[in-house]
């Protein structure tokens, strides 16, 4: 049973941030638990493991490895021995299939690093109204990290990309309990695979990838949601046909035309299309909902804003019910795929509740909307964030 204290804690820690100060009960008690090698994270599910980053760990510019969220679909997750690991690169449109050890991967290709937000497609699903099934994530199925490895493009070119190549199909070492369950296999368009920003990473924030985030190597598809960022990568196939597995044809799909973002035409139908780009979004990390602030004192509003890699143009703040907006100061630019810190000192002379609304605008012109575009899988919640504090 959830106590009032638990509810207050949940609210105080920001899990209901966007719905203001609502003391709405989460579906299940909020529990922090530590997977091996991780600090205590919000346990959304034990098996397959789904653990969310609590708000305080989203304050640093780079999300610490041991606090980074964990998301799996299938429950068999082997510990991969980096010395024995091999990456197979082949497929019907590969001219020279190859197999690489981690050492060969490191030595044979130019190293590349970039900072990028990894955000689960279903981040904030638990805040959807009406509620939708799926892992009931709050705000923390995301993080920002410095990813280091090699460019997927260089590896594909070594394997030889035939002119009929359409998609690149990715498979990892994790698998299902039952042989009848579709393995988690994803594909990306060949153009996205050949983009210079798409990496095979073996380091995160300067350290080897944590087990729970895809050791020893994972795909990085900056600007696209986490579903394509294949963990424990073992196989890459260059194919002339659209991959027709469950996780492409039936999962991670949106109503066609409902949202902006890159099109994935080889997987598109008149009804639905794969989720692709992260939408422009922001997260308030402080003040916390319900904070009591003495009248006349300064409150430092702070948070993060991010998008699909166009880059953040501005973050605006309203304290008058979204009638007028002021620009927040943006922090250091860590790269176009990273989030951008924002900050604005506020003072209030009037006692009572103060609602602070924040909206980010992308250099693409896109801006956070006021209303949610409902979709059955609960993706793309990027509506304007608010936090309500009490001026006393």
């Amino acid at each position: 049973m959830l106590s009032r204290r638990d509810l207050l804690l949940a609210a105080a820690c920001g899990w209901t941030t966007r719905r203001g100060l609502a003391l709405e009960a989460p579906a299940s008690p909020e529990v922090l638990a530590a997977l091996p090698g991780k600090r205590p994270l919000l346990q959304r599910a034990l098996r397959p493991p789904n653990f969310e980053t609590p708000l305080p760990a989203l304050v640093p510019a780079f999300t610490p490895n041991d606090a980074f969220f964990v998301r799996y679909h299938l429950a068999v997750i082997p510990s991969v021995d980096p010395a024995a690991w091999r990456l197979q690169v082949g497929g019907a449109s590969a001219q020279r299939p190859l197999s690489l050890s981690l050492r060969e991967l490191r030595r044979s290709f130019t190293q590349a690093s970039l900072a990028a937000v990894n955000q689960c497609s279903g981040n904030r699903r638990g805040l959807f109204s009406p509620r939708v099934p799926g892992v009931q994530w709050g705000n923390g199925a995301m993080g920002n990290a410095l990813w280091s490895g090699v460019r997927l493009r260089d590896v594909l070119q070594k394997a030889g990309v035939a002119s009929d190549a359409l998609e690149v199909v990715l498979r990892g070492a994790d698998s299902a309990v039952l042989p009848t369950t579709p393995d988690f296999v994803k594909s990306i368009p060949i153009e996205r695979a050949l983009d210079e920003s798409t990496l095979i990473a073996f380091e995160m924030n300067g350290k080897p990838l944590p087990h729970w985030n895809g050791a020893p190597a994972r795909l990085i598809v900056p600007g696209w949601t986490g579903t394509y960022w294949m963990k424990h990568l073992t196989q890459i196939r260059i194919e002339p046909k659209a991959f027709d597995g469950f996780w492409m044809k039936a999962a991670y799909r949106l109503p066609t035309g409902a949202f902006p973002g890159s099109r994935f035409t080889s997987q598109e139908t008149p009804e639905t299309t794969p989720i692709t780009d992260i939408l422009v979004n922001s997260l308030i990390t402080g003040p916390l909902p319900g904070a009591r602030i003495r009248r006349g004192t300064r409150v430092e509003l702070a948070g993060k804003a991010w998008d699909n890699g166009a880059g953040i143009a501005s973050v605006e703040v309203s304290v008058d019910g979204r009638r007028s907006w002021r620009e927040a100061a943006l922090g250091r630019d860590l790269g176009r795929f990273a989030w951008r810190e924002f900050r604005l000192p506020l003072t209030s002379s009037a006692s009572g509740p103060l609602e602070i609304a924040v909206r980010a605008r992308s250099r693409s012109g896109a801006q956070q909307p006021d209303a949610l575009t409902f979709n059955p899988a609960g993706y793309h919640d990027n509506i304007v964030q608010t936090v309500t504090v009490e001026i006393v």
Binding site: A27, A34, P40, L46, A61, S113, L146, P182
Partner: protein, 112 residues
């Protein structure tokens, strides 16, 4: 491509947001569990509970049931069970599937 390295992110966070550090401490006192994480869910008593537990835990822990309840009703559970059997190959006979549906619809339907 940028080459910046993160600089002591945790310390920066604490320096800038003492309130958040307090929040962590409070949450820690209330809810942090020792490693390893544990199955937290005891499904409600009721007819069909045992078969529900035995079939569902083959592939996943039980938190998924109460956490999804607010989004579910009988029609939603029927669709979910069908997906588990047809798409994911969950082993359950028609009779077992009916018992599981009756149990979930009666005990974990939070959607009108």
């Amino acid at each position: 491509m940028m080459q910046a390295r993160p600089k002591r992110p945790v310390r920066r966070a604490r320096a800038r947001a003492p309130g958040l550090a307090v929040c962590v401490a409070a949450a820690t006192a209330a809810a942090v569990r020792a490693t390893p994480p544990q199955e937290l869910t005891q499904l409600k008593e009721g007819s069909g509970r045992d078969v529900t537990v035995s079939r569902c835990i083959v592939c996943h822990s039980l938190e998924y049931i109460p956490s999804n309840a607010p989004a579910m009703n009988r029609a939603g559970w029927e669709k979910s069970i069908q997906k588990m059997r047809d798409r994911f190959g969950a082993p359950a006979t028609d009779e077992e599937a009916r018992q599981i549906l009756d149990y979930l619809a009666a005990n974990y339907s939070g959607k009108p």
